[in-house]
Symmetry: C2
Subunit: 210 residues, 2 copies
């Protein structure tokens, strides 16, 4: 009799623990990671960062996401320079008017076009589109991991490209498209609402009511 009462108590406790675990787990997915669409819709430019270091694995995920992008005729005409050296980050921040936040970022990734891997003739320019798709993947992968990042444009600004080339010792066939400072966000970031139905046309161009 006493044994069975203890057994009942133990089993009842187990039921409660398991039920609570089940309820907590049911709630986890929605909080933990957003759906892919939600991640796309809530990404925003993050320009200030905490001191929290970014794990090597997280950086690798950013680069894996970038290289998963499509490219014209699958040329993959890209190269990535990861900068986590404090002096180099400061140099980039000093040289580039739109990349000041690199000075306090944990790292920056410079997305580059590799001119040895492009298509021929006017199609060579597809590298810009390919590397831009790779960059957007990188930004989304950052947001999905709770990191913050911002796309600071370099190409086609020749002065900015020269500065990056000089600081990082890039050869002439490597063209820096942008510098992406990365870190954990120092504050909440509210995404802009950029939904404009007037940007949409159906089966041809309709003149806007302007």
């Amino acid at each position: 009799m006493k044994t069975s009462k203890i057994t009942i108590l133990i089993l009842a406790a187990a039921v409660i623990v398991l039920a609570v675990a089940l309820i907590l787990q049911r709630r986890t997915p929605a909080i933990q990671t957003g759906s892919p669409i939600e991640v796309i819709m809530t990404r925003s430019s993050v320009r200030s960062y905490t001191d929290k270091p970014v794990a090597k694995e997280s950086v690798e995920t950013l680069l894996r996401a970038a290289m998963a992008a499509p490219s014209a005729v699958n040329k993959q005409p890209w190269a990535f320079v990861v900068v986590d050296d404090r002096a180099l980050l400061s140099s980039l921040a000093e040289a580039l008017p739109n990349t000041k936040m690199a000075a306090e970022a944990q790292l920056a990734i410079v997305v580059c076009g590799d001119m040895r891997k492009t298509l021929e003739g006017e199609a060579a320019l597809f590298w810009v589109q390919d590397c831009s798709a790779a960059t957007e993947n990188l930004l989304l992968a950052a947001h999905a991991q709770g990191l913050g990042a911002v796309w600071t444009g370099i190409y086609p600004n020749a002065a900015r490209a020269d500065a990056v080339r000089s600081i990082l010792g890039l050869p002439s066939y490597i063209v820096p498209l942008n510098v992406i400072p990365v870190g954990y966000p120092a504050s909440e970031n509210t995404p802009k609402d950029k939904w404009k139905p007037e940007n949409i046309h159906t089966n041809g161009w309709q003149a806007e009511a302007e």
Copy 2:
């Protein structure tokens, strides 16, 4: 005594049911919907489609995702032409050597740059990067919804751009960047493995071992 035995049996059964539910739920997230990172890593170009119609809400999600992209100085220099008219889809397929699959697609979205919304001078060219980021968002949102799509490049190919402009009646300030046929995939699509650690450089350029 008998009552306590029954209680023990009921509680033991509850423990088993809850434990199984907990284990099953722990497995669910990975199977159910891909995580954002998984969606980025598994997207691939889809060039053949079933007859299944694509809901208007799904198309709107593609366009919302596209417009959520970042753009230089937040200019949002884009416009989108949704084509679901069968005759127009056939015309695009006939005129564009790399867009044959539009003929059997449920729809196509033409991502365009709007030259009235760009920055000034050489920075005007940032529209290509902005619209490419929007396109990558659109492709990821398609894959996240179980749709298939493929980026067929138009700009900077002048002949292709003229063909699209003529078929869709685009004004001179609208430059078609690409045509994205969309539909439910007719077959399984295996993503290419494009991970190449040799694309990664750290704190400056290191000569490749070639």
